[in-house]
């Protein structure tokens, strides 16, 4: 992953490759559209945690950032994050949580989430959050 080299001079989203993990296809489609509006050109999708894991394992270098829904059947967002953190401690991870998930936020923070965004959110909010995630990753790098 080479986020830092791509984003040195201001953030240019067209260079950022993002993996969306959400079990709801409409939600994935919406998120993808929002990202496209923001100028992101490379978006990958995974319908569940298991497929996300296998995708990341085979194509880690192809993604810069993961956006993942908290609430998924099977492997939940936080479980995915926990498993990822053992192998990729620095992968930028944006968690999407529901409004009533204050407990989940604390848990996600404990697992090392880069940032979280609460549903429903607008493009502006998503952009702000993505900037936070990218900026934090840059600082780390």
């Amino acid at each position: 992953m080479s986020l830092s080299s791509k984003l040195d001079h201001g953030i240019d989203f067209s260079e950022v490759k993002i993996l969306i993990v959400d079990d709801q296809s409409e939600a994935r489609a919406m998120l993808k559209n929002m990202l496209t509006e923001m100028g992101v050109t490379q978006v990958f999708e995974a319908p569940d945690g298991r497929q996300a894991l296998s995708f990341i394992d085979t194509a880690f270098d192809f993604i810069d950032l993961i956006i993942c829904d908290w609430n998924m059947p099977g492997i939940t967002g936080v479980e995915l994050l926990r498993q990822l953190r053992t192998v990729y401690p620095d992968v930028p991870f944006l968690m999407i949580t529901g409004r009533s998930d204050m407990g989940s936020v604390a848990e996600a923070k404990a697992c090392g989430v880069t940032a979280y965004i609460r549903k429903p959110f607008s493009i502006t909010q998503l952009e702000a959050k993505l900037r936070v995630v990218v900026k934090k990753s840059l600082v780390k790098a």
Binding site: P120, S122, E127, R131
Partner: protein, 702 residues
């Protein structure tokens, strides 16, 4: 001890005495003598008393089996060498009395062996008490009769014990908090023969006029209505019965009693007594009702949260796509209008789910302490225009601040919902009285008393002169989507939101309503012992004395010296300051900061994300944050590298203390105007359709 059954011993003595006279008389008459001797031996042997006989020299003559039972060492064989002196020594050692009369008798015997009469209680090796009576007979023999008197003593002890236990039982009955009453059905009219203290208390003043009248008088005195028929029927039929009765006590307070009547049957199968046990179960009943209410609210909360959660997902998809469609549809006005409608509907949906989630929220710890007096004052001023000319709002608030730990909008929302409900309960107009005062924990309703968290509570009381509610309505008042307002006039979530908010703050609500007279809602919030978090202290015209305690500012400035200068000025004013050296860092800082950011002071031109874009990105996440742009360039115009929004607040560099102080004060006070705008957004429903039927009720929650 000497007095146990002396007459029995005397009879025995007479018998033995007679026997010996017969023996003496029969001397020389060999055949008869033999017969009598045998008879005497037979009598002594079969006696239920122990006997031992010594001759005038004190040597052993005879003993029977019984005495060996009392004194095992006195078996026939061993007793042969046993002397009167030995026996006395034994008695002396085992006498229970301390006066040692045995010793005197022993002395007496040695002086005058023929003339004594002796009685002593001793305790044998097994611990049995024995009465030993000795008598010298006809200068020849000394006869002792021994009788076990343990049994007699036990009986006496039992009697004493029973008496004692009787007293204890009576004391226990008197100490019982259950009212106990006993009647005697064997007498005509079944008069009451006993009341304990608790029963007298239940009967109060009526007790003194009751006398021994029967059960009807008791039930009448306790103001039972329907229940007394059932109770009396059971009593007259001598059946056991248990019922619960509700009576209206002083001050219209409801009291619950459980009454249990029991018929006691004697050995002959006759009804001996009728016992009534009265227990006040008001508290239990209240707790039961409270518990089932709490459980219901919890279940509803979980349901609401579940629905809201899923519904939110659906809404965010609708909202997201319609926004994107709108972006791609520029030029097509008709389609854009339709999309606008979709978006406004999804906004309404989002507001609804937010309310549902507020209802189901559980207690969260909010670090902020607000002054309730200030909030109530401001809120009531803002609400005034909403009420219309036909409704008078009377506000009574104390002068001193009341610190309460909760988010500021909690109280605002509570007041708004309660006042709107009060307004809607008065379609013909009327009066709303809003009172704020403090109460000690001991005077708050029962409902909170179970979970007291503070010494004092702030009570906000809102009284209206409206239609009031019946019991049925009161029971459902906090249920989500329960409304008495006509279709389309209310969501039925207002009171649910109040319930959620109050619960979350550790407070409680008490509702009292009377049909046709009005409703009183009392909301209790625990008073915090911390001081109010946000405080604006400012003197008109003197910027140097400004104090903005408890506020937080975020300073985004790429020039380090300037950033430090501005931060120092703000800290001097009492603000907490967060610093960032560019726009993106500012985004990260505010994202990680969990408290409220009251003001963002940002440079306009910064590398990467500029100030205007930063403000825009922050606005949706933190809509309440005020923005002040700082720039060395003029605000707008040809010279400005970035054009500021029209309504932007701008301060020219170099920043000085006085102008920044004035600007901050002005911005931070803007909050109230924002609140007014929020209130204006409220639906203006006016009429209330209520299906009340003339009952009154009361409900409360915690």
């Amino acid at each position: 001890m000497h007095n146990y059954y002396p007459h029995i011993i005397s009879v025995e003595f007479l018998l033995i005495l007679a026997l010996f006279f017969v023996l003496i008389w029969a001397k020389g008459r060999n055949k008869t003598e033999l017969l009598l001797k045998n008879a005497a031996e037979e009598i002594i042997e079969s006696s239920e008393y122990g006997h031992i006989i010594f001759d005038k020299d004190g040597s052993f003559v005879k003993s029977n089996k019984k005495i060996a039972e009392y004194f095992p060492f006195l078996t026939q064989k061993k007793a042969q060498n046993y002397s009167l002196q030995d026996f006395f020594a034994f008695l002396y050692d085992h006498a229970v009395d301390s006066d040692k009369s045995v010793r005197n008798v022993m002395l007496d015997v040695s002086n005058n062996p023929q003339g004594y009469d002796f009685r002593e209680v001793i305790k044998n090796e097994e611990g049995r008490l024995c009465l030993v009576c000795g008598k010298a007979i006809s200068h020849d023999l000394t006869v002792f009769v021994v009788r076990d008197i343990s049994l007699g003593q036990k009986r006496e002890e039992r009697m004493l014990d029973l008496g004692k236990r009787n007293v204890q039982l009576q004391q226990a009955i008197e100490a019982s908090t259950s009212g106990i009453i006993v009647s005697d059905p064997k007498q005509s009219d079944n008069p009451v023969v006993f009341y304990n203290k608790a029963m007298k208390d239940f009967l109060g003043g009526a007790f003194y006029t009751l006398g021994d009248r029967g059960w009807l008088a008791v039930f009448d005195a306790m103001k039972f209505n329907e229940e007394k028929k059932e109770l009396l029927l059971a009593i007259t039929k001598y059946q056991n019965n248990e019922i619960e009765a509700r009576i209206v006590g002083e001050g219209d307070r409801l009291h619950w009693f459980s009454i249990k009547t029991t018929a006691v049957i004697d050995e002959a199968g006759q009804v001996d007594l009728i016992i009534g046990v009265f227990n006040e179960i008001t508290l239990l009943k209240e707790r039961e009702a409270q518990m089932s209410h709490t459980q219901k609210m919890d279940a509803l909360g979980r349901l609401a949260a579940g629905i809201a959660h899923d519904f939110n997902n659906v809404l965010s998809i609708i909202d997201g796509f319609s926004k994107m469609a709108a972006m791609n549809l520029e030029g097509n006005e008709k389609a854009s209008k339709y999309l606008e409608r979709i978006q406004s509907a999804s906004k309404r949906g989002a507001a609804l789910t937010r309310k549902m989630l507020t209802f189901s929220r559980h207690k969260v710890v909010s670090g902020e302490v607000i002054d309730m007096v200030d909030v109530v004052k401001v809120q009531s001023e803002l609400l005034m225009p909403l009420l219309g000319a036909s409704i008078a709002l009377d506000v009574r608030i104390p002068k001193d601040e009341i610190p309460v730990m909760c988010p500021p909008d909690t109280i605002e929302q509570v007041i708004m919902n309660l006042v709107i409900n009060a307004r809607d309960a008065m379609p013909e107009g009327g009066r709303i009285l809003m009172q704020l005062f403090t109460e000690g924990a001991e005077s708050v309703p029962n409902i909170i008393r179970e979970k007291i968290v503070a010494e004092n509570y702030a009570c906000l009381k809102i009284l209206d002169t409206g239609t009031g509610m019946d019991e049925e309505t009161l029971e459902k008042i906090f249920d989500p989507f329960f409304t008495t307002k006509g279709a389309g006039k209310g969501t039925g979530l207002g009171m649910s939101v109040v319930y959620g908010l109050v619960n979350e703050s550790g407070g409680a609500i008490n509702v009292v309503s009377e049909q046709g007279k009005g409703t009183t809602m009392s909301v209790y919030f625990p008073i915090s012992n911390k001081s109010v978090t946000r405080k604006i202290i400012a003197e008109e015209g003197d910027a140097s004395k400004i104090c903005l305690q408890g506020f937080t500012a975020l300073v985004a400035e790429d020039e380090p010296d300037l950033r430090l200068l501005v931060s120092n000025i703000l800290e001097d004013m009492g603000l907490e300051v967060l610093q960032a050296k560019d726009g993106d860092e500012a985004l990260v800082v505010q994202d990680e900061y969990e408290g409220k950011v009251d003001v963002l002071l940002t440079d306009v031109v910064m590398p990467g994300l500029n100030g205007v874009k930063l403000a825009e990105l922050m606005h949706e996440e933190r809509p309440d944050t005020k923005v002040i742009f700082m720039s060395g360039y003029p605000a707008n115009g040809d010279m400005a590298p970035v054009s500021l929004p029209e309504s932007a607040c701008f301060i020219a560099k170099p920043v000085n203390y006085d102008s920044l102080a004035k600007l901050l004060l002005q911005k931070l006070k803007e909050d109230r105007n924002d609140d007014l705008k929020k209130i204006e957004d409220l639906p203006q429903w006016k009429t209330v359709e209520s299906q009340n039927d003339g009952k009154e009720g009361k409900t409360n929650v915690a």
